[in-house]
Protein backbone atom coordinates (compact mmCIF):
# COMPACT_ATOMS: atom_id res chain seq x y z
CA UNK A 1 0.00 0.00 0.00
CA UNK A 2 2.74 2.42 0.98
CA UNK A 3 4.72 1.37 -2.06
CA UNK A 4 1.67 1.76 -4.27
CA UNK A 5 0.94 5.26 -2.98
CA UNK A 6 4.53 6.35 -3.57
CA UNK A 7 4.40 4.86 -7.03
CA UNK A 8 1.18 6.72 -7.81
CA UNK A 9 2.73 9.95 -6.52
CA UNK A 10 5.58 9.57 -9.00
CA UNK A 11 3.15 8.77 -11.82
CA UNK A 12 1.19 11.92 -10.97
CA UNK A 13 4.40 13.95 -11.10
CA UNK A 14 5.23 12.52 -14.51
CA UNK A 15 1.73 13.37 -15.73
CA UNK A 16 2.04 16.91 -14.39
CA UNK A 17 5.25 17.44 -16.33
CA UNK A 18 3.86 15.87 -19.50
CA UNK A 19 0.65 17.88 -19.44
CA UNK A 20 2.43 21.04 -18.34
CA UNK A 21 4.80 20.94 -21.27
CA UNK A 22 2.83 19.22 -24.01
CA UNK A 23 -0.62 20.62 -23.40
CA UNK A 24 -0.21 23.83 -21.41
CA UNK A 25 3.09 24.83 -23.01
CA UNK A 26 4.57 25.93 -19.71
CA UNK A 27 8.16 25.48 -20.85
CA UNK A 28 9.26 28.56 -18.98
CA UNK A 29 7.83 27.21 -15.71
CA UNK A 30 9.24 23.70 -16.09
CA UNK A 31 12.54 24.68 -17.68
CA UNK A 32 13.50 27.71 -15.64
CA UNK A 33 11.35 28.62 -12.65
CA UNK A 34 11.04 25.14 -11.13
CA UNK A 35 14.76 24.31 -11.52
CA UNK A 36 15.80 27.54 -9.81
CA UNK A 37 13.22 27.05 -7.11
CA UNK A 38 14.38 23.48 -6.54
CA UNK A 39 18.02 24.56 -6.34
CA UNK A 40 17.24 27.25 -3.78
CA UNK A 41 15.11 24.85 -1.73
CA UNK A 42 17.81 22.21 -1.88
CA UNK A 43 20.67 24.48 -0.82
CA UNK A 44 18.62 26.41 1.72
CA UNK A 45 17.05 23.31 3.21
CA UNK A 46 20.33 21.44 3.33
CA UNK A 47 22.18 24.25 5.08
CA UNK A 48 19.28 24.77 7.45
CA UNK A 49 19.15 21.11 8.41
CA UNK A 50 22.90 20.89 8.99
CA UNK A 51 23.01 24.08 11.07
CA UNK A 52 20.06 22.81 13.09
CA UNK A 53 21.90 19.57 13.78
CA UNK A 54 24.96 21.60 14.70
CA UNK A 55 23.02 23.30 17.47
CA UNK A 56 22.43 20.01 19.28
CA UNK A 57 25.05 19.41 21.92
CA UNK A 58 26.71 16.04 22.09
CA UNK A 59 27.64 16.00 25.75
CA UNK A 60 29.05 12.52 25.90
CA UNK A 61 31.68 10.68 23.95
CA UNK A 62 29.54 8.10 22.25
CA UNK A 63 31.64 6.56 19.48
CA UNK A 64 30.59 3.01 18.75
CA UNK A 65 33.76 1.02 18.58
CA UNK A 66 34.61 -2.49 17.59
CA UNK A 67 38.27 -2.87 18.38
CA UNK A 68 40.71 -2.79 21.23
CA UNK A 69 40.69 0.47 23.12
CA UNK A 70 43.96 2.28 23.78
CA UNK A 71 45.28 0.74 26.93
CA UNK A 72 48.59 -0.45 28.31
CA UNK A 73 51.49 -0.04 25.90
CA UNK A 74 51.86 -3.77 25.27
CA UNK A 75 48.22 -4.18 24.29
CA UNK A 76 47.78 -3.43 20.62
CA UNK A 77 45.20 -0.73 19.95
CA UNK A 78 42.82 -0.91 17.02
CA UNK A 79 43.72 2.54 15.76
CA UNK A 80 40.91 2.87 13.23
CA UNK A 81 38.15 0.87 14.85
CA UNK A 82 38.77 2.56 18.16
CA UNK A 83 40.49 5.82 17.31
CA UNK A 84 42.08 8.15 19.79
CA UNK A 85 43.69 10.44 17.24
CA UNK A 86 42.30 12.78 14.60
CA UNK A 87 43.98 10.74 11.88
CA UNK A 88 42.24 7.60 13.12
CA UNK A 89 38.90 9.36 13.01
CA UNK A 90 39.55 10.72 9.51
CA UNK A 91 40.45 7.26 8.20
CA UNK A 92 37.44 5.79 9.94
CA UNK A 93 35.08 8.41 8.51
CA UNK A 94 36.59 8.11 5.03
CA UNK A 95 36.11 4.35 4.99
CA UNK A 96 32.55 4.94 6.16
CA UNK A 97 31.79 7.56 3.52
CA UNK A 98 33.56 5.97 0.57
CA UNK A 99 33.15 2.27 1.34
CA UNK A 100 30.24 2.05 3.82
CA UNK A 101 32.37 0.17 6.32
CA UNK A 102 29.71 -0.26 8.96
CA UNK A 103 27.28 -1.63 6.40
CA UNK A 104 29.95 -4.14 5.45
CA UNK A 105 29.58 -5.54 8.94
CA UNK A 106 25.86 -6.02 8.44
CA UNK A 107 24.68 -9.37 9.80
CA UNK A 108 21.50 -11.31 9.54
CA UNK A 109 19.79 -13.08 12.35
CA UNK A 110 17.77 -16.20 11.82
CA UNK A 111 15.80 -18.48 14.03
CA UNK A 112 16.19 -21.93 12.57
CA UNK A 113 14.13 -24.82 13.75
CA UNK A 114 16.22 -27.95 13.57
CA UNK A 115 16.00 -31.46 14.97
CA UNK A 116 17.04 -30.30 18.42
CA UNK A 117 14.71 -27.32 18.70
CA UNK A 118 14.99 -23.73 17.49
CA UNK A 119 18.42 -22.32 17.10
CA UNK A 120 19.42 -18.70 16.78
CA UNK A 121 22.08 -18.12 14.19
CA UNK A 122 23.92 -15.13 12.85
CA UNK A 123 25.51 -14.82 9.45
CA UNK A 124 27.16 -12.27 7.27
CA UNK A 125 24.91 -10.33 4.90
CA UNK A 126 26.86 -8.49 2.26
CA UNK A 127 24.23 -8.00 -0.44
CA UNK A 128 22.94 -4.75 0.96
CA UNK A 129 26.49 -3.46 1.15
CA UNK A 130 27.21 -4.44 -2.44
CA UNK A 131 23.93 -2.98 -3.67
CA UNK A 132 24.43 0.32 -1.85
CA UNK A 133 28.01 0.65 -2.96
CA UNK A 134 27.12 0.09 -6.61
CA UNK A 135 24.14 2.41 -6.31
CA UNK A 136 25.97 5.32 -4.69
CA UNK A 137 29.09 5.15 -6.82
CA UNK A 138 27.09 4.89 -10.03
CA UNK A 139 25.03 7.84 -8.90
CA UNK A 140 28.16 9.89 -8.30
CA UNK A 141 29.63 9.05 -11.70
CA UNK A 142 26.32 9.83 -13.38
CA UNK A 143 26.27 13.24 -11.71
CA UNK A 144 29.85 13.91 -12.80
CA UNK A 145 28.93 12.90 -16.35
CA UNK A 146 26.02 15.32 -16.34
CA UNK A 147 28.46 18.17 -15.73
CA UNK A 148 29.08 18.14 -19.46
CA UNK A 149 25.78 19.99 -19.81
CA UNK A 150 26.69 22.61 -17.24
CA UNK A 151 30.30 23.39 -18.11
CA UNK A 152 31.65 24.92 -21.27
CA UNK A 153 34.34 24.05 -22.26
CA UNK A 154 33.88 20.55 -20.85
CA UNK A 155 36.72 19.79 -18.41
CA UNK A 156 38.95 16.81 -18.94
CA UNK A 157 37.78 14.82 -15.92
CA UNK A 158 34.22 14.86 -17.24
CA UNK A 159 35.35 13.65 -20.65
CA UNK A 160 37.37 10.89 -19.01
CA UNK A 161 34.43 9.80 -16.86
CA UNK A 162 32.30 9.77 -19.97
CA UNK A 163 34.66 7.71 -22.09
CA UNK A 164 35.42 5.16 -19.37
CA UNK A 165 31.73 4.82 -18.64
CA UNK A 166 30.95 4.17 -22.29
CA UNK A 167 34.02 2.08 -23.00
CA UNK A 168 32.12 -1.00 -24.12
CA UNK A 169 30.81 0.99 -27.11
CA UNK A 170 27.68 -1.09 -27.35
CA UNK A 171 25.09 0.60 -29.52
CA UNK A 172 24.99 4.17 -30.59
CA UNK A 173 25.13 6.32 -28.57
CA UNK A 174 27.18 3.88 -26.48
CA UNK A 175 25.57 2.35 -23.42
CA UNK A 176 26.93 3.70 -20.17
CA UNK A 177 28.01 1.04 -17.70
CA UNK A 178 26.81 3.13 -14.79
CA UNK A 179 23.32 3.29 -16.31
CA UNK A 180 23.10 -0.48 -16.17
CA UNK A 181 24.67 -0.79 -12.72
CA UNK A 182 22.47 1.97 -11.40
CA UNK A 183 19.26 0.43 -12.66
CA UNK A 184 20.25 -2.99 -11.33
CA UNK A 185 21.20 -1.61 -7.92
CA UNK A 186 18.09 0.52 -7.50
CA UNK A 187 15.92 -2.44 -8.51
CA UNK A 188 17.70 -4.58 -5.95
CA UNK A 189 17.21 -1.95 -3.24
CA UNK A 190 13.52 -1.83 -4.08
CA UNK A 191 12.99 -5.61 -4.29
CA UNK A 192 14.74 -6.00 -0.96
CA UNK A 193 12.03 -3.88 0.67
CA UNK A 194 9.27 -5.89 -0.97
CA UNK A 195 10.66 -9.39 -0.61
CA UNK A 196 12.18 -9.53 2.87
CA UNK A 197 9.22 -9.53 5.31
CA UNK A 198 11.04 -7.80 8.15
CA UNK A 199 12.29 -5.03 5.89
CA UNK A 200 8.87 -4.69 4.29
CA UNK A 201 7.33 -4.29 7.74
CA UNK A 202 9.54 -1.35 8.65
CA UNK A 203 9.44 0.33 5.22
CA UNK A 204 7.51 3.56 5.02
CA UNK A 205 6.18 5.60 2.14
CA UNK A 206 9.20 7.86 2.74
CA UNK A 207 11.40 4.88 1.88
CA UNK A 208 9.58 3.94 -1.30
CA UNK A 209 9.04 7.43 -2.67
CA UNK A 210 12.72 8.38 -3.12
CA UNK A 211 13.39 4.94 -4.60
CA UNK A 212 10.64 5.35 -7.17
CA UNK A 213 11.75 8.91 -7.88
CA UNK A 214 15.34 7.84 -8.47
CA UNK A 215 14.20 4.88 -10.52
CA UNK A 216 12.01 7.03 -12.75
CA UNK A 217 14.75 9.63 -13.14
CA UNK A 218 17.12 6.90 -14.27
CA UNK A 219 14.57 5.36 -16.62
CA UNK A 220 13.55 8.70 -18.16
CA UNK A 221 17.21 9.54 -18.65
CA UNK A 222 17.93 6.23 -20.30
CA UNK A 223 14.85 6.49 -22.52
CA UNK A 224 16.07 9.91 -23.58
CA UNK A 225 19.51 8.64 -24.43
CA UNK A 226 18.66 5.32 -26.05
CA UNK A 227 15.13 5.66 -27.45
CA UNK A 228 13.36 9.02 -27.62
CA UNK A 229 16.40 11.04 -28.54
CA UNK A 230 16.39 14.74 -27.99
CA UNK A 231 18.43 17.63 -29.26
CA UNK A 232 21.43 17.52 -26.92
CA UNK A 233 22.76 20.86 -28.13
CA UNK A 234 19.50 22.56 -27.21
CA UNK A 235 19.58 20.87 -23.79
CA UNK A 236 23.05 22.17 -23.14
CA UNK A 237 21.98 25.68 -24.14
CA UNK A 238 19.19 25.47 -21.59
CA UNK A 239 21.48 24.12 -18.88
CA UNK A 240 24.19 26.69 -19.55
CA UNK A 241 21.60 29.45 -19.56
CA UNK A 242 20.51 28.35 -16.10
CA UNK A 243 23.99 28.40 -14.61
CA UNK A 244 24.89 31.67 -16.32
CA UNK A 245 21.75 33.23 -14.88
CA UNK A 246 20.59 34.14 -18.38
CA UNK A 247 17.97 31.43 -18.79
CA UNK A 248 16.80 30.58 -22.27
CA UNK A 249 14.29 28.03 -23.54
CA UNK A 250 15.54 26.60 -26.83
CA UNK A 251 12.78 25.31 -29.06
CA UNK A 252 12.22 21.71 -29.89
CA UNK A 253 13.29 19.78 -26.79
CA UNK A 254 11.00 16.79 -26.33
CA UNK A 255 8.65 16.39 -23.36
CA UNK A 256 10.71 13.46 -22.07
CA UNK A 257 13.44 15.94 -21.18
CA UNK A 258 11.06 18.07 -19.15
CA UNK A 259 9.79 14.97 -17.34
CA UNK A 260 13.37 14.04 -16.46
CA UNK A 261 14.12 17.59 -15.32
CA UNK A 262 10.91 17.95 -13.33
CA UNK A 263 11.48 14.70 -11.44
CA UNK A 264 15.03 15.79 -10.59
CA UNK A 265 13.76 19.15 -9.39
CA UNK A 266 11.16 17.50 -7.18
CA UNK A 267 13.78 15.12 -5.78
CA UNK A 268 16.11 18.02 -5.00
CA UNK A 269 13.39 20.09 -3.40
CA UNK A 270 12.29 17.07 -1.37
CA UNK A 271 15.84 16.16 -0.42
CA UNK A 272 16.31 18.29 2.73
CA UNK A 273 13.04 17.10 4.27
CA UNK A 274 13.77 13.44 3.75
CA UNK A 275 15.96 10.50 4.64
CA UNK A 276 18.17 11.52 1.74
CA UNK A 277 19.78 13.98 4.15
CA UNK A 278 22.02 11.10 5.22
CA UNK A 279 24.32 12.68 2.63
CA UNK A 280 25.03 15.47 5.11
CA UNK A 281 24.18 13.45 8.18
CA UNK A 282 26.92 10.90 7.77
CA UNK A 283 29.49 13.61 8.46
CA UNK A 284 27.70 14.54 11.66
CA UNK A 285 27.29 11.05 13.13
CA UNK A 286 28.56 11.28 16.70
CA UNK A 287 28.98 7.54 16.94
CA UNK A 288 31.46 7.69 14.07
CA UNK A 289 33.15 11.07 14.12
CA UNK A 290 34.31 11.12 17.73
CA UNK A 291 37.57 10.02 19.22
CA UNK A 292 37.25 7.42 21.92
CA UNK A 293 39.23 9.37 24.50
CA UNK A 294 36.77 9.20 27.35
CA UNK A 295 39.43 8.61 29.94
CA UNK A 296 42.29 10.55 28.39
CA UNK A 297 40.68 13.97 28.24
CA UNK A 298 38.20 15.64 30.54
CA UNK A 299 34.99 16.30 28.67
CA UNK A 300 32.79 18.94 30.17
CA UNK A 301 29.11 18.87 29.53
CA UNK A 302 28.46 21.90 27.32
CA UNK A 303 25.19 22.72 29.05
CA UNK A 304 26.54 22.70 32.59
CA UNK A 305 25.22 25.83 34.32
CA UNK A 306 27.66 28.53 35.43
CA UNK A 307 27.86 28.07 39.19
CA UNK A 308 29.54 30.37 41.66
CA UNK A 309 31.89 28.47 43.89
CA UNK A 310 33.27 29.70 47.16
CA UNK A 311 36.69 28.12 47.18
CA UNK A 312 38.83 27.62 50.26
CA UNK A 313 41.24 30.26 48.98
CA UNK A 314 38.49 32.87 48.96
CA UNK A 315 37.24 31.64 52.31
CA UNK A 316 40.67 32.09 53.83
CA UNK A 317 41.05 35.55 52.29
CA UNK A 318 37.78 36.53 53.87
CA UNK A 319 38.42 35.17 57.35
CA UNK A 320 42.24 35.19 57.58
CA UNK A 321 42.47 37.70 60.41
CA UNK A 322 39.78 36.02 62.43
CA UNK A 323 41.35 32.63 61.87
CA UNK A 324 44.74 33.84 63.04
CA UNK A 325 43.20 35.32 66.16
CA UNK A 326 41.48 32.07 66.93
CA UNK A 327 44.73 30.18 66.36
CA UNK A 328 43.55 28.28 63.32
CA UNK A 329 46.42 27.53 60.89
CA UNK A 330 46.21 29.35 57.56
CA UNK A 331 47.87 28.55 54.26
CA UNK A 332 48.87 32.08 53.32
CA UNK A 333 50.21 34.48 55.89
Amino acid sequence: MKALLSFLAVIVLILIATLGVDVANLHFLFGIIIPYLAFVMFVGGFVYRVLKWGRSPVPFRIPTTCGQQKSLPWIKQAKIENPTTNLGVVVRMASEIFFFRSLFRNTKTELRVGADGPKLSYGSAKWLWVGSLVFHWSFLIIIVRHLRFFLEPVPYFVQIADSIDGMLQIGLPPIYLTDLFFLLAVTFLFLRRIVIPQVKYISLAADYFPLFMIMSIAISGMLMRYYYRIDIVAVKELALGLVQLHPVIPVGIGAIFYIHLFLICILFAYFPTSKLMHMGGIFLSPTRNMKNNNRMVRHINPWNPELEYHTYEHYEDEFREKMKKAGIPVEKE
Binding site: P57, L151, R229, D231, K236, L240, V243, Q244
Partner: protein, 155 residues
Amino acid sequence: MYKGGKIIVGLVIFLAFLTFPFFYNMGKANAGPENLDANLKQAADSQCVEPADYMRNNHMQLLNQWRQAYVRDGLTEYTNSQGKTFEINIDTCTKCHSTGAASNTSGVSNPAVNEVGVSNPAVNTSDQFCVSCHDYASVKPTCWSCHSEPGGATK
Protein backbone atom coordinates in the same frame (compact mmCIF):
# COMPACT_ATOMS: atom_id res chain seq x y z
CA MET B 1 26.47 25.90 17.87
CA TYR B 2 28.79 23.06 18.78
CA LYS B 3 31.82 22.31 16.59
CA GLY B 4 30.59 25.27 14.54
CA GLY B 5 33.90 25.85 12.80
CA LYS B 6 34.14 22.39 11.35
CA ILE B 7 30.49 22.27 10.34
CA ILE B 8 30.68 25.61 8.57
CA VAL B 9 33.89 24.63 6.75
CA GLY B 10 32.11 21.46 5.61
CA LEU B 11 29.10 23.43 4.40
CA VAL B 12 31.32 25.90 2.54
CA ILE B 13 33.05 23.02 0.73
CA PHE B 14 29.66 21.54 -0.12
CA LEU B 15 28.43 24.88 -1.46
CA ALA B 16 31.62 25.31 -3.46
CA PHE B 17 30.91 22.01 -5.23
CA LEU B 18 27.29 22.94 -5.85
CA THR B 19 27.98 26.39 -7.21
CA PHE B 20 31.04 25.37 -9.21
CA PRO B 21 29.17 25.46 -12.57
CA PHE B 22 27.91 28.97 -11.81
CA PHE B 23 31.43 30.29 -11.30
CA TYR B 24 32.98 28.20 -14.06
CA ASN B 25 30.74 29.73 -16.70
CA MET B 26 30.61 33.20 -15.23
CA GLY B 27 31.01 35.97 -17.75
CA LYS B 28 31.08 33.63 -20.73
CA ALA B 29 28.52 34.01 -23.44
CA ASN B 30 26.05 31.20 -23.81
CA ALA B 31 27.15 30.70 -27.39
CA GLY B 32 25.94 27.46 -28.76
CA PRO B 33 27.89 25.80 -31.51
CA GLU B 34 27.88 27.48 -34.87
CA ASN B 35 24.64 27.40 -36.67
CA LEU B 36 24.83 24.58 -39.15
CA ASP B 37 22.45 26.29 -41.50
CA ALA B 38 25.00 29.02 -42.05
CA ASN B 39 27.37 26.47 -43.54
CA LEU B 40 24.93 24.90 -45.89
CA LYS B 41 26.13 24.90 -49.44
CA GLN B 42 22.69 24.10 -50.75
CA ALA B 43 19.67 26.29 -51.08
CA ALA B 44 17.93 26.77 -47.76
CA ASP B 45 14.79 24.99 -48.89
CA SER B 46 16.51 21.77 -49.85
CA GLN B 47 15.98 18.99 -47.40
CA CYS B 48 18.46 16.77 -45.62
CA VAL B 49 18.39 12.98 -45.87
CA GLU B 50 15.61 13.01 -43.32
CA PRO B 51 13.82 16.07 -41.89
CA ALA B 52 16.16 18.39 -39.97
CA ASP B 53 14.52 17.75 -36.60
CA TYR B 54 14.93 14.04 -37.01
CA MET B 55 18.53 14.46 -38.12
CA ARG B 56 19.38 16.67 -35.18
CA ASN B 57 18.25 14.02 -32.70
CA ASN B 58 18.93 10.79 -34.54
CA HIS B 59 21.76 11.32 -37.03
CA MET B 60 23.98 8.86 -35.14
CA GLN B 61 21.34 6.23 -35.56
CA LEU B 62 21.14 6.89 -39.29
CA LEU B 63 24.91 6.72 -39.67
CA ASN B 64 24.90 3.42 -37.81
CA GLN B 65 22.17 2.16 -40.08
CA TRP B 66 24.16 3.27 -43.09
CA ARG B 67 27.25 1.50 -41.87
CA GLN B 68 25.27 -1.69 -41.37
CA ALA B 69 23.69 -1.35 -44.83
CA TYR B 70 26.91 -0.53 -46.62
CA VAL B 71 29.41 -2.77 -44.89
CA ARG B 72 27.33 -5.81 -44.02
CA ASP B 73 24.41 -5.77 -46.41
CA GLY B 74 26.22 -4.36 -49.41
CA LEU B 75 23.64 -1.67 -50.09
CA THR B 76 24.81 1.56 -51.58
CA GLU B 77 21.58 3.48 -51.57
CA TYR B 78 19.30 4.66 -48.80
CA THR B 79 15.63 5.41 -49.32
CA ASN B 80 14.33 7.96 -46.87
CA SER B 81 10.89 8.33 -45.32
CA GLN B 82 9.71 10.32 -48.34
CA GLY B 83 10.91 7.73 -50.81
CA LYS B 84 13.86 9.75 -52.01
CA THR B 85 17.10 7.85 -52.45
CA PHE B 86 20.52 8.92 -51.37
CA GLU B 87 23.90 7.43 -51.90
CA ILE B 88 25.28 5.88 -48.71
CA ASN B 89 28.45 7.84 -48.32
CA ILE B 90 29.77 10.52 -46.03
CA ASP B 91 30.10 12.63 -49.16
CA THR B 92 26.31 12.76 -49.24
CA CYS B 93 26.56 14.68 -45.99
CA THR B 94 29.48 16.84 -46.87
CA LYS B 95 27.90 17.85 -50.15
CA CYS B 96 25.78 20.30 -48.19
CA HIS B 97 27.25 20.44 -44.71
CA SER B 98 30.62 20.96 -45.80
CA THR B 99 33.80 22.15 -45.19
CA GLY B 100 33.85 24.85 -47.79
CA ALA B 101 37.14 26.61 -48.17
CA ALA B 102 38.86 24.25 -45.81
CA SER B 103 37.84 21.27 -47.87
CA ASN B 104 40.58 18.90 -48.59
CA THR B 105 40.93 18.32 -52.30
CA SER B 106 43.23 15.37 -51.99
CA GLY B 107 40.67 13.13 -50.38
CA VAL B 108 37.82 13.15 -47.94
CA SER B 109 37.42 16.42 -46.21
CA ASN B 110 37.39 15.95 -42.55
CA PRO B 111 34.15 16.92 -40.94
CA ALA B 112 34.95 15.65 -37.49
CA VAL B 113 38.36 17.00 -36.87
CA ASN B 114 39.04 20.60 -36.46
CA GLU B 115 42.43 22.03 -35.86
CA VAL B 116 41.22 25.49 -34.94
CA GLY B 117 40.01 26.08 -31.39
CA VAL B 118 39.28 22.43 -30.86
CA SER B 119 37.63 22.51 -27.48
CA ASN B 120 36.06 25.90 -27.75
CA PRO B 121 33.28 26.17 -30.30
CA ALA B 122 32.67 29.75 -29.25
CA VAL B 123 35.87 30.84 -30.96
CA ASN B 124 35.68 28.19 -33.61
CA THR B 125 35.76 29.93 -36.95
CA SER B 126 35.99 26.77 -38.96
CA ASP B 127 32.99 25.63 -40.90
CA GLN B 128 33.61 21.97 -40.20
CA PHE B 129 30.30 20.67 -39.18
CA CYS B 130 30.58 17.64 -36.89
CA VAL B 131 33.08 19.04 -34.54
CA SER B 132 31.43 22.18 -33.27
CA CYS B 133 28.36 20.42 -31.88
CA HIS B 134 30.26 17.34 -30.80
CA ASP B 135 32.77 19.37 -28.84
CA TYR B 136 30.01 21.42 -27.34
CA ALA B 137 28.13 18.36 -26.12
CA SER B 138 31.36 16.49 -25.34
CA VAL B 139 30.47 13.53 -27.51
CA LYS B 140 33.33 11.84 -29.28
CA PRO B 141 32.35 10.28 -32.57
CA THR B 142 34.00 6.90 -33.02
CA CYS B 143 34.36 7.32 -36.80
CA TRP B 144 38.09 7.76 -36.66
CA SER B 145 38.76 4.62 -34.66
CA CYS B 146 38.29 2.70 -37.96
CA HIS B 147 38.47 5.27 -40.73
CA SER B 148 41.81 6.88 -41.14
CA GLU B 149 41.71 10.53 -40.48
CA PRO B 150 42.33 12.76 -43.42
CA GLY B 151 45.95 13.64 -43.32
CA GLY B 152 46.47 10.56 -41.19
CA ALA B 153 49.28 9.37 -43.41
CA THR B 154 51.39 12.31 -42.44
CA LYS B 155 51.02 11.56 -38.75
